[in-house]
Symmetry: D2
Subunit: 276 residues, 4 copies
């Protein structure tokens, strides 16, 4: 009997969560009954509550919402969007297409925001130890490059000379900082990085969507890995929209390039299997 008791205790403890409490007829998230949340808090506020444990202020919710709106889509040349569209022509449902697409929002495609926060926070830590902004940014960039290579996450874009989303997001941070709602520290760090990159390269390497959302997420206190999750939530909207549009367009087994285009074969010439 004591073994039974032990096992029961283990089982009750196997899954632990601070997020949701449930009884028949009752659902609470971080203590709040669902029927009080529905119709009273917005979707972005719900994202905050679920990931942070408390409801945000209006100012916090507005900034988070701006980042969720900002990253929804970058068109069918983005791997995530192309995958969603191809997936829908293979016969699955919207959830399947969304899964195949969200899955690739990894280190390179969706992880720049997470990395940018790490970079900003490392610089912010140096700031707190003293030193001027230009000094600590220079040190922070050097340290980043030494560990991670030459790509500075959150800056530069292969398509946009200036990413139209970044200045708008930064302006929202400036406004909030002026109202005392956020510190503005990370906006300052990002601008100094931008300045030093331009000085180094001799041409602008401006803040992009990942670097700009990272400024906001850092200002709002999100742990870096969650930035990737927030990007997934945002981009899911574009993924869904494109998957659905593709379904309406039809198509069966749609490949990446037009029919009649194949690929460049660079391998072995024709040969026969020997009769071993």
């Amino acid at each position: 009997m004591s073994e039974t008791t032990t096992l029961d205790t283990q089982a009750a403890d196997w899954w632990q969560t601070e997020i949701i409490d449930m009884r028949p007829g009752e659902i609470r998230y971080h203590g709040y009954p669902i029927e009080q949340l529905i119709g009273r808090v917005g979707f972005a506020e719900m994202v905050w509550l679920m990931t942070r444990g408390e409801l945000p202020s209006n100012a916090q919710a507005a900034l988070l919402e701006a980042t969720l709106v900002g990253a929804v889509d970058h068109g069918p040349q983005a791997p995530s969007i192309a995958i969603a569209r191809m997936a829908m022509t293979c016969g699955g449902s919207l959830n399947n297409a969304m899964a195949s697409a969200i899955n690739v929002l990894d280190d390179i495609h969706g992880g720049a925001g997470e990395q940018a926060i790490e970079l900003y926070r490392a610089i912010e830590g140096r700031l707190q130890e003293g030193g001027t902004l230009p000094q600590v940014v220079a040190q922070g960039l050097e340290a980043w490059r030494a560990e991670h290579g030459k790509i500075v996450p959150g800056f530069g874009h292969r398509f946009h000379p200036v990413d139209p989303r970044a200045p708008r997001l930064l302006a929202l941070v400036d406004d909030a900082a002026e109202r005392g709602e956020v510190s503005g520290t990370y906006a300052g760090i990002a601008r100094e990085i931008e300045r030093q990159l331009q000085a180094k390269k001799g041409k602008p390497i401006p803040l992009n969507i990942d670097g700009a959302t990272a400024v906001i997420h850092a200002e709002l206190g999100f742990p870096a890995p969650l930035a990737r999750g927030l990007f997934c939530l945002s981009r899911s909207v574009g993924i869904l929209a494109h998957a659905w549009e593709q379904q309406c367009q039809g198509g069966r087994n749609k490949g990446p390039m037009p029919k009649g285009w194949l690929w460049d074969y660079r391998g072995q010439v024709s040969r026969n299997v020997s009769n071993g």
Copy 2:
């Protein structure tokens, strides 16, 4: 040269979209520049714009937002949430855990809303051809069962006697109908289905979260398959929150049940591979 021209034309046409237009420095969704949308429209409005092509009214946005808030999470006994948590203990990133979890929001786990809209719309079609609400609901239910079996999507819950999300969502529809913002037709259909199910079974089989969100999505004019996509967007929030909480808790290769619990083996007794 004419072949080249043809191929170019094909290539330019291979991916077609009404969703996003892009030029260096410019991104527009359904015509609206991204920098005008950021900070001015909410995340739920962006979901509407991307999937429907126009910005919603405030009333429409509020109802859609209520459904997105309502379905975020049902705890670690839901396959999607358990999968997200297990996935995070296997070494991948948040995007990977989200993908494995969202992938299972399929016909049975996430598809009830889509099916409920189909049922409501079929009944609404009969209404337009004449007949009283009780008559056409009875006919609609009979037709549904004949084609799909005995489960009526959107009604009944194996855990909640009354799903606390459903009456709240329905009350929002009632309020909107009173203000003339929606028709209220689908709320009426859902309530009549509920009444007839109770009469048939001799006990309440009340509207659940899927049936209630389906009422709203149907009132708002969403095509049925998109309801599944909207559910994926909503549940992604809970999936992300649980994946992140699990990552913070740690754990390696976490199985579904406590260590020391295995499974019930019901197969062949021990045997030897013969030396064939």
Copy 3:
């Protein structure tokens, strides 16, 4: 205490399997100890044992193996292969790329074999009730088209006039039938379908890889849905090979078409968000 006992019993029964039995230091699949299987049975035989519960004869294993070899790859124009390659440029690992790709082997991309078995079995059922092969095939095709539309699964190819895999696989079935190892019934059904399609269309609509593997899987007694699973196992090899080759080639965020190629935008003209 009685409640505890009940719960324990439930827990022990929650996961049930005939596939694997395990004790500390012991692993058995369908009764066979793993250490006897390793080095003595082949990978294709293991696939059979795990999905069917018994070890196959050599003849059965050889036919199954031919289907697993036959469907490994169809190049980067196949959505599954393109997805695997794009995924690898987004920063995840091989398992992630394989998941995104295997996920799309759904009804249209990977499900034709499953459907072809259903078609063959329906015809075989009619054969057992009497009637000549031409008669029952004609009836079977008519019934299929009435329920599923004009596409006959397993026949015709948009790229290959004759799919080089199909005649080879069919020849293996003929050889096995001559040796009395399989019935040959399904090969006969497939050939008669091919003949009737050609007569109807006035041009060859020859058996393709899906139709040919379906002949073998039907001869071997596999349930139709497992044919899709076997296709996934086979195509996984090509998916892995291409994902790995892409990783060796490098590339970051590789889109479906060359840089500088976008898409055809067909949506709303530029417009401003009104100040609502």
Copy 4:
């Protein structure tokens, strides 16, 4: 016109592969026509050809095949298997369940083989520079722990005192080494690691399935990341078998633990949303 030519060239070069060459009616993998491979080479040989570019010797194929057979399944307590089974109760198809499950074969669940090869190869590199086996293994383990922490990949098992798959796989390597088919170097390294771990811990930390397959993959010259891919191919068989068995058993929305078992809630007490 020159721009057109350039774009065409880019397009033809966008997807490059040495794996597959295709023309209407022809498919060749690394130069070999598919119709010569089908029926003549086994599935494991095909895995080798696709990932390595050449057909293996019989000895090489046999060792690779042993590893593919060895890792197929570890039962429903493994996250991958539990996920596959839960997924099938949510309404998707076998390919979807396989995708959600294979996706979690990541660093911790499926990546130990890859890491073990890296460890073995680092030690082998030290061997070539001189020093006795015990010396370089001690140095290699120290270096590994300094960089990666205390877990030595490929050794120890939380369930099996001795993993029954490991000695069997190692015996096959010994036999092959005796016949001069492989060097046996990596088997020696693995055994010395095992000896030193036992000496350090005062109890056996024996080679497990990941460490044993890594010995073979290292002997056969596979790049370390491919070991993860090979594990995915192998485990896919068990994933498919369990997904299919679950589909035959039925079940809807099957959670990880029995109905009536929830989770341990450790969060905020009940509270109300303030009327902000």
